[in-house]
Symmetry: C2
Subunit: 274 residues, 2 copies
Amino acid sequence: MALGPLSMNMATLNPQAPFQDVIDACSRGGIRAVGALRDQVARVGLSQAGSMLRSRGIEVTSLVRAGPFTANDPVAAQAAIDDARRAIEEAAALDAACLVIFAGGLPAGSKDIGAAREMVRDAVGSILPEARSAGVPLAIEPLHPIYAAERACMNTLEQVLDICDELGAGVGAIVDTYHTWWDPKLSDQIARAGRKGQILGYHISDWLVPTGDMLLDRGMIGDGVIDLKTIGAWIEASGYCGSPEIEIFSASNWWTMPADEVIRICVERFAVNC
Amino acid sequence: MALGPLSMNMATLNPQAPFQDVIDACSRGGIRAVGALRDQVARVGLSQAGSMLRSRGIEVTSLVRAGPFTANDPVAAQAAIDDARRAIEEAAALDAACLVIFAGGLPAGSKDIGAAREMVRDAVGSILPEARSAGVPLAIEPLHPIYAAERACMNTLEQVLDICDELGAGVGAIVDTYHTWWDPKLSDQIARAGRKGQILGYHISDWLVPTGDMLLDRGMIGDGVIDLKTIGAWIEASGYCGSPEIEIFSASNWWTMPADEVIRICVERFAVNC
């Protein structure tokens, strides 16, 4: 089964660039889909952003992001839920294919990662009725275990799919090569997710050797050690037919380059390596 | 069930210190068991090291290490096997409770982590007859997924236990808190391993927030975010009755301090936090 059109997550380009410049560059580069960042959308305004995208025929494959959901403080926890409800409305307004759920790490002062995981599951469950009503699937993204303490207590695809099974319709997972390539169960869990239609996004970047910075030194497709062709074949075989989305956080390298050049290289590399 | 006497892995102390100085410091600190490093043993000589340990009544809970086993080059691969056979003999001579298997990362130029994993399984299988004859259990240590590319393609306890099941008697796993604390399946897999007597070591250090260096900035017990009491309870409930072993790689902090001081703090922290 064929995948959707190649999507460029806006985090691949300089995140400080104006929204219109980014989508204009995408248009020039032949890109018909983007992963959109909420703060970039907010800077131009939601309705204006939607108009710009529609006028260029660019669809939104993901809206990034709701969360984190692991605040100890009840006021902060409620604020995250309220913000997530706004994110659902924004995703609906942009006709985004999914809203990305960013879990959060350990609560301040806590060593209880099991409790953090329950907080995330419960928070997603609490916004699920609104998400279903709005027709916005919630996509929980497992992040690499290196981020477990500080950023995300959702760390494997299997773990996220167990939560999806528990919560029911309207929740799925993002499979990101950077976060999951090391996982001995990746192939099995992609197939499992595919059987239930639980793959809501397929994000692509590469793992550099060595990696200079654990957060902002992801590699351009083909520059690292991830077997992207094999993982891509598992994704296709799973029945996923959404877009592959290129998401490369690269502060000291790709973010410093002109958007047109980055897009051109992404398209070239995707064709050869994925 | 009670665990064995607290063990000090020699890598917790300055690895450049002479062997005798280290075990003398352990003796002064009331430590009755050590994890021994092969190169430290080699510098003093195997029989001399054994005599020193026996004369002080110190047992060896692990000998570190055999591997890596993911060389592409057949000559290098055979050299690793030959070296591992010598390591088995050394472990037997020291009456070590196990020999630690250090897997290795991706072979040079390879993106095939599945093939790397098969190389490790096959290498361990090939030295298993000698290990069984010598009465030296082989302990495969899953390392944190951050090391998958460069150091170790064995990354979860479940993955290692699947290999242990495949290889049969004489192979087990090290459970290291630093490498496994994030794993959503850790409790289940410790229980699984316990039922089959497959836990060959329980290594303890803490995860600092932030972590300065991914290899050599492990935390002293109690200084990080790992719930060591809970993991320790899982280990005890599994039926493991070997020693807990403190293993803290800390180049810029604990390695710079006098061994007596480090040992005193380890003992204190273990009593309070584990």
